[in-house]
């Protein structure tokens, strides 16, 4: 283990901690998801890079797990966001124009639907 591995691991862990603090302190669901998905992705990438540099025998598994998390992370965030939008009683605090709401209203109001 050399210095570069340690620096990368600590930087990545710092970003993951920042994401955790954001999830803890932000005040509505979409802000928390913003912290949890974006900061975690870069932090996790740095930690995975450090591990791939240091552990010779496990590079395949590290790459596989990293790619899997990179592919599924946005997908599950999308599912949670859509579910929270449609469910009643969740504070999502929408700022600005609500394009999805207009789209859903238009689809419900148009004839033939």
């Amino acid at each position: 283990m050399d210095a570069l591995t340690g620096i990368l691991a600590v930087l990545g862990a710092l970003l993951v901690v920042l994401a955790g603090v954001g999830v803890l302190r932000f005040r509505d669901l979409y802000s928390r998801m913003h912290a949890a998905t974006k900061a975690t992705t870069l932090g996790f990438a740095l930690v995975a890079l450090a591990a791939a540099l240091a552990v010779d025998a496990g590079r395949g598994k590290i790459l596989l797990a990293t790619v899997f998390i990179f592919v599924t992370g946005p997908a599950s965030a999308h599912f949670i966001g859509r579910a929270a939008y449609r469910a009643e009683g969740i504070d999502v605090r929408l700022d600005g124009p609500d394009d999805l709401g207009d789209l859903l209203d238009g689809a419900a109001g148009s004839p033939g639907e």
């Binding site: 598994k61 599950s76 469910a87």
Partner: protein, 83 residues
């Protein structure tokens, strides 16, 4: 350095755990669990560096798959039942 990274990941896991307990909505708890999965995988990576062995790397694959499946299923549950 590696010990510091593990402690930082522990702090992050504690933040997600508090959000998991506090809520307030079911969707917040799903987000916290989803983040906790990433923290666990990162901690196993760092532990592999500390140990200099790939012994526990299989865990990361299983945890990542179960985490995605669980988050997706719970999101469907929220969409149908409300959070």
């Amino acid at each position: 350095m590696i010990a510091l990274a593990l402690v930082l990941l522990l702090v992050a896991g504690a933040c997600y755990l508090v959000r998991l307990v506090v809520g307030p909505s079911l969707a917040d708890r799903i987000v916290a669990l989803d983040g906790l999965v990433v923290v666990i995988v990162a901690a196993v990576f760092v532990d592999a560096v500390r140990d200099d062995s790939p012994r526990f790397l299989d865990i990361t694959l299983v945890v990542a798959m179960v985490g995605f499946t669980g988050a997706t299923a719970a999101a469907r549950f929220v969409e149908r039942r409300g959070g």
